[in-house]
Symmetry: C2
Subunit: 196 residues, 2 copies
């Protein structure tokens, strides 16, 4: 076979036939999908019970055709009042939001909403563990930032502070989450070090 | 004023003007609504952080009209893979399902699904507190039944056991949940006695 494009030939040699489905590298999968895969693995391996909450939808009109499933004909996306993920790990309540950014140097606070911060503060108040998982997509780096370190920048933005968290701060205060074959965003290993 | 209908006059005298909106009796509200009101009160009074999970919906078709919100045009209800409610109370992860029955003498197990039982077992395994809230609507009685006492009947039904839990068992193993003005299903007071 002829590959006029050298790059393509190289790519092909690195990814042999049948590799596509078993290729567990981060490419092509969103952070959310990676966390879902991780949570499935955690559940199956009896590590933790964590689920993503369904997208909240305001249902307006439902059709009930005879002998078949109800069809939602009109509905609208609602803003979530909490974070996306919660569950139990080693007896503790854990609760987190996951966000990816195309930025390399900072995480824009506009990715997070006030009601999510309020929720995370309430969780911490009641003894739960709350944190943010941030992926810097161009760097392929995923960090766990404890909620209290997020609050510092969140609260300061209203007193003239900056509207984003510098990458350097997240690197310093947060923890790099390792990528593993099945636990693609292995946040539990980071929680082990931080909270147990 | 003349009330040709005696009943209406009596009703009126029992429900003075403006009472409608502040009438917090159980009548007319579903168990789920009562629990949502309770959870709002728990959140506001810094008692607990517990939310109902959104109904899971499989979205098939979304319309994005210009200058207005996206409209979901076709979607289907999905079966939930977990229980309906979870959150954190006094540092512990809590997780429960709420069901009402029109029966007076037993709770039919068909109200619960295998995947919910699996989820509750996983929660207990990881040190969370899991339970069922059952309302016997004709009796206006609401019980908290710890998950392990539900499992007994659930598992036995596959070995020729009965397909429902007798009211007497729930009364004995469970705890009657008190009704309070704001905490309409005050399950936290029951958890205090059982787990703390």
């Amino acid at each position: 076979m002829n590959y006029p494009n050298g790059k393509r030939a190289i790519k092909h040699s690195l990814a042999p036939k049948g590799k596509t489905k078993t290729d567990f590298s981060n490419r092509g999968m969103s952070l959310e999908e990676d966390i879902n895969v991780t949570n499935e693995h955690y559940l199956a391996s009896q590590t933790a019970v964590v689920h993503k909450k369904p997208t909240p939808v305001q249902i307006v009109n439902v059709d009930y055709p005879k002998r078949s499933a109800a069809v939602i004909k009109e509905a609208y996306f609602k803003q979530a009042s909490t974070t996306d993920f919660n569950g139990v790990y080693r007896g503790k309540y854990i609760d987190f939001e996951a966000k990816e950014t195309k930025n390399k140097t900072s995480f824009p606070l506009s990715n997070v909403h006030q009601h999510q911060i309020d929720h995370m503060k309430a969780v911490q108040l009641h003894g739960g563990i709350s944190f943010l998982i941030v992926k810097f997509t161009p760097l392929d780096e995923v960090y766990l930032l404890p909620a209290q370190d997020l609050f510092v920048y969140w609260d300061e933005q209203w007193q003239g502070g900056r509207k984003s968290i510098p990458y350097s701060y997240i690197k310093q205060k947060g923890s790099l989450i390792p990528f593993r074959y099945q636990a693609r965003v292995d946040y539990a290993s980071v929680l082990d070090k931080l909270y147990f």
